[in-house]
């Protein structure tokens, strides 16, 4: 018999139960995750604050030039970059968040940053959300907004911000 082992009291027996040990480890992971989330200002990403988009500084150029752009007073990041229905907005935010954090953490992305094709379509929809009436006549018969070849930002590239 192993004499080194402490006698099993009800207390120690409780901590040796597998379910309890698993619970402890999971709690730690959850705690660390919560801390990491808070430290990385995770909640800010659910907001509409444009400052959230420069948390990691990679989009500083875009943020700085947006402040000087023609749209500065009327549109912030989310106005153009995410859909405007509740489900679509948070689904897009989740997708963007996943792509961006993967790119930034691994450092594996195209520099200068390029817009994702899906994101480009979201931007186009948002151009028309405000300017739809004005552009109706030209959007009606052409392929405007329907393809990546002809969309608003192809020509109006810097209305939102400079850089890419």
């Amino acid at each position: 018999m192993d004499t080194n082992l402490a006698p099993a009291t009800p207390k120690t027996r409780f901590f040796r139960r597998p379910a309890v040990m698993l619970f402890l480890v999971l709690s730690m992971v959850l705690g660390m995750g919560a801390y990491t989330f808070a430290d990385a200002r995770g909640l800010s990403y659910l907001s509409n604050d444009p400052k959230a988009c420069v948390n990691c500084h990679v989009m500083n150029d875009n943020y700085d030039s947006w402040q000087k752009s023609s749209h500065h007073a009327v549109a912030s990041c989310n106005d153009c970059h995410v859909p405007h229905d509740l489900l679509g907005k948070y689904l897009a935010k989740a997708k963007h968040g996943w792509r961006h954090s993967k790119a930034f953490t691994t450092g594996d992305y195209h520099d200068p940053i390029q817009v994702h094709p899906e994101s480009r379509r979201e931007i186009q929809d948002n151009c028309l959300r405000c300017h739809g009436k004005l552009t109706d006549a030209i959007a009606g018969h052409a392929k405007l907004g329907k393809t990546d070849e002809v969309n608003c930002i192809r020509c109006h590239a810097t209305v939102g911000h400079g850089g890419r």
Binding site: L22, L26, C56
Partner: protein, 498 residues
């Protein structure tokens, strides 16, 4: 639940813990990157020539600076090693023997290779075969070594006030620099080179106190000041035009007058320019007195104010006897005539683009061809694919090369014709006009040939220059043909009435 399932859950949870910890570490690292952009580990001052010292404070920039040892090539340039002589690049005169004809009688006909990266500038200048066939002056060192501290030390020895610790832009600092420059220019090359320890380094472009860009090369300081005094428009250099509208009480000084964006070209223009050695003192001079266009420079050289009251020449052409000129890498001059320059794009925008490193933005100090980094160099502004940008650039270069081939053929034909006329007994007076056409054509061809972009820096200007070169070469031939035609009257063809 079974024990195995618990163990699996336990291991998975622990793994997730490790993952979260790693992510937290990564986020922390990026957060620190965003706040600390440089490290003041050592003190650098006006006497710190060694780039490794500066590198301790600016490790990212220093890292990329050191990578200028890389030897890569593009279609028309780059610096791939010569398989026959691995420590050098391939020979341009072996690749195109017409260049030997063009430079017959000058050291470039002996050895002319593709330039290597900044890291090799001092070594390659010491090693070139040209050193063996002519006695080079210390003036050559101006652009092949870190000379800022060397000039100042020599200037103090020559009697300039101070001890070399003053701000370079102070009166004492400037006097040290200029006095030392004069002294080193007239030295034999070997003596001058013995004083230089590094290829171009941090102190040659940066102020050690503020890290701001700073022009330190006397040749450029003089050159841009005389350019400012000329009447040639300089739309690519707005601060020069602004100075011209002022009271002009003092000379144009890039370190005072230029914008930061202009300085991002001026620090490169300190060396990537056309130049000559003035007089017996071999003072390095940029011939910008009438402007920086090829004809401005030529008309400066053409004035009969040089040796023996004649126009300036680098050498007498060995075959034709023409008073020939050798153009040297006029990148700054050609760039200034291009659309990029006019749009305010600086050398550093394409050759040292900003790169993202984690949460930081640093300018890439591995100065090299933008063709090797099209994403960062071109796509910051151009919204086309990398393949498309490369194709656009190579199209410009292919067209320039085709035009240069025609111009070179014309020049070689003219040289052959002058040679034949000489053998026929034609004298100097009779050949003067043809020889001048050779000089005019040759300098224009060399202006584009020696320039390191195969026309890209200003495509239309390059084509204009080469078009003129073709014309001058053939005009020279016509000139000779006229004289030949004048002697034996050709039988006139009979014209019958219809």
């Amino acid at each position: 639940m079974s024990k195995a399932l618990y163990t699996l859950g336990f291991v998975a949870a622990a793994g997730a813990g490790v993952g979260v910890a790693l992510l937290l570490g990564n986020i922390k690292k990026h957060q620190v990157e965003a706040t600390v952009t440089n490290y003041d580990l050592v003190k650098v001052d006006e006497k710190t020539a060694d780039p490794a010292e500066w590198g301790k404070n600016h490790p990212r920039q220093y890292d990329s600076y050191k990578r200028t040892v890389d030897m890569e090539r593009t279609r028309y340039g780059g610096s791939e090693a010569d398989p026959k002589k691995p420590d050098t690049t391939y020979s341009k005169i072996e690749e195109d023997p017409r260049l030997v004809t063009m430079w017959k009688g000058y050291a470039f006909a002996v050895d002319f290779r593709e330039e290597r990266g900044h890291a090799y500038m001092l070594q390659d200048q010491k090693d070139t075969e040209r050193q063996k066939v002519v006695k080079q002056p210390g003036a050559c060192l101006h652009c092949h070594a870190s000379t800022t501290t060397v000039y100042r030390a020599e200037g103090i020895k020559a009697g300039a006030p101070g001890d070399g610790t003053e701000d370079l832009c102070s009166a004492a600092g400037k006097e040290q620099l200029m006095k030392g420059f004069d002294k080193v220019c007239s030295m034999p090359y070997a003596d001058a080179a013995a004083m230089a320890k590094h290829p171009v380094a941090c102190i040659d472009c940066h102020d050690p106190k503020s890290m701001a860009l700073r022009v330190t090369r006397p040749g450029f300081l003089d050159g841009i000041a005389v350019l400012a005094k000329s009447s040639e428009p300089t739309p690519a250099l707005p601060s020069v035009e602004k100075w011209r509208k002022g009271d002009r009480k003092r000379d144009y000084d890039p370190n005072v007058d230029a914008s930061r964006q202009e300085m991002r070209s001026f620090v490169c223009g300190q060396c990537h320019v056309e130049y000559y050695f003035k007089g017996d003192a071999k003072r390095l001079t940029y011939p910008w007195h009438k402007g920086v266009k090829v004809e401005n420079i030529l008309s400066y050289y053409d004035e009969p104010v040089f040796k023996d009251g004649k126009p300036y020449k680098d050498f007498a052409h060995k075959i034709s006897g023409a008073p020939a000129l050798k153009a040297q890498h006029p990148e700054f001059e050609l760039w200034s005539q291009g659309v990029h320059a006019r749009a305010g794009v600086a050398c550093a925008d394409c050759h040292m683009p900003y790169v993202r490193e984690g949460a930081m933005k640093v300018s890439d100090h591995q100065v090299r061809s933008p063709m090797l980094m099209i994403d960062k160099a071109c796509q910051t502004c151009h919204r086309a694919s990398e393949a498309e940008m490369k194709a656009r650039c190579e199209l410009i270069q292919d067209r320039t090369k085709a035009l240069m081939d025609r111009a070179l053929n014309g020049l070689c034909d003219l040289i052959k014709d002058i040679e034949a006329a000489q053998a026929d007994g034609a004298g100097d007076e009779e050949l003067a006009k043809a020889r001048d056409f050779q000089r005019q054509a040759q300098f224009r061809i060399d202006f584009i040939n020696a320039e390191n972009s195969m026309g890209f820096h200003a495509p239309q200007e390059a084509a204009r220059i080469l078009g003129e070169a073709c014309d001058f070469a053939r005009q020279g031939q016509v000139e000779l043909a006229k004289k030949h035609a004048a002697k034996p009257a050709l039988p006139k063809p009979e014209v019958k009435a219809p």
